[in-house]
Symmetry: C2
Subunit: 239 residues, 2 copies
């Protein structure tokens, strides 16, 4: 169905804009996303509620309303300065993982760009799920959604304690500790959990206590890699 | 030397603020950076011209002036909402690489965060230089500098044509092409150039024509990895 909206006071616009705040994402169990490629993946996941677009998009199911808006309204909804032309509301799906044999665990990751990029990489390397500790940033933050490039619609992202995953799984913790083994010397079998730590502080003490294997990437000159780069190298190795 | 500045109209503040624009970075051959850890690396590189800080920093050489400023002034200079407490002006150094045996070539990389992260990773894996094609973003953009975590002060970042690097070097091009070999099957010796393409369009036709080896990272589910993640995986492999 196609409708037109011209007023910023329209209730649909107000509702969608409210989803920029975590408390409304929580209250309504909805979140915002944007871009044509992302829309394609969100439609594939069946979680699109309504679409705000500059022009009609062909082949959208009848029950998903397309609101045609002007550029100022689209910019109001978008999180980028030059929006691609489409912003849409998604339903949080609380997708349950089928199995947890190969998962990445984010220990207090605070940067939305890093989280989104890690979700994208985990999906690309066929991980079963991305598991978040408490104190991570909100995975439905627009920047996480954008950086995930739609992966967040399709891979389960759940919150769970690392301790609850330990039984039967090898806990592999990425750390700069001298006790850690160099990545290329580490070979593990499924099921396993790969643990990545906070950008500034690394993995927490409680995660280190649960570790079966400590692993590090050999680097020179500088203290550390960006966590999403480190995650990429580790997930590529532990495929 | 320590001085105090309280006015936003102060010439030092005006000059430093102007460096947020590429044309003034070009005109003065200077750029802005911030944060204590970055300052440490910039001092190590000997490129710090002057410092704006909330409070005096100990052990700074006498000839580098420390301007003590208040929080509103610091925020004016900073590119982050919550600055760490120090912003400083650096001299572009045009550092010449000692050799170009192991280099990464960025083919029209446009996102400053990606470029900074790749510079950080190249430095961590002991690359000789980061080489930029034309049409890349400005490597002295604040976001590049921030994402590089100080690596940009210490690894040569230069602009040069790929064709000028081809003689005597293996040109390894990262591409999603079906003709590309899977990364783990590719082993090359120095000297080499690793070529990474634009976020949206991949490597350019002219770079593909110069390629000796096409390489790809096997992924599922999704079109591509983030370019700085792909760069990390490739540089970790080609160390």
């Amino acid at each position: 169905m196609i409708k037109e909206i011209t007023s910023p006071q329209n209730n649909k616009i107000k509702h969608a804009t409210s989803l920029k705040l975590g408390k409304y994402r929580q209250q309504y169990q909805e979140f915002l996303a944007e871009g044509y490629k992302s829309l394609e993946l969100a439609l594939q996941a069946g979680i699109v509620k309504e679409i705000f677009t500059l022009k009609e998009i062909p082949n959208i199911k009848q029950d998903i309303v397309q609101y045609i808006v002007n550029l100022p309204l689209l910019k109001k909804l978008s999180s980028t300065q030059n929006p691609e032309g489409v912003v849409f509301v998604c339903l949080k799906q609380n997708k349950k993982p089928k199995k947890l044999d190969k998962v990445v665990y984010l220990d207090k990751i605070s940067d939305p760009g890093n989280m989104g990029t890690i979700i994208r990489t985990a999906f690309a390397f066929n991980y079963d799920a991305v598991i978040l500790s408490d104190e991570c940033c909100d995975p439905y933050n627009e920047k996480v959604v954008a950086a995930s490039k739609g992966a967040i619609f399709l891979i389960p992202v759940i919150q769970q304690d690392l301790s609850s995953l330990k039984e039967k799984r090898t806990i592999v913790v990425s750390t700069l500790s001298e006790k850690a083994q160099e990545l290329n010397d580490v070979h593990i079998n499924k099921p396993f959990v790969l643990v990545l730590g906070n950008e500034a502080h690394g993995v927490s003490e409680s995660s280190l206590l649960l570790a079966d294997v400590l692993v590090k990437i050999d680097i020179s000159n500088i203290d550390s890699l960006n966590v999403s780069v480190a995650a990429g190298i580790l997930m590529h190795h532990f495929r």
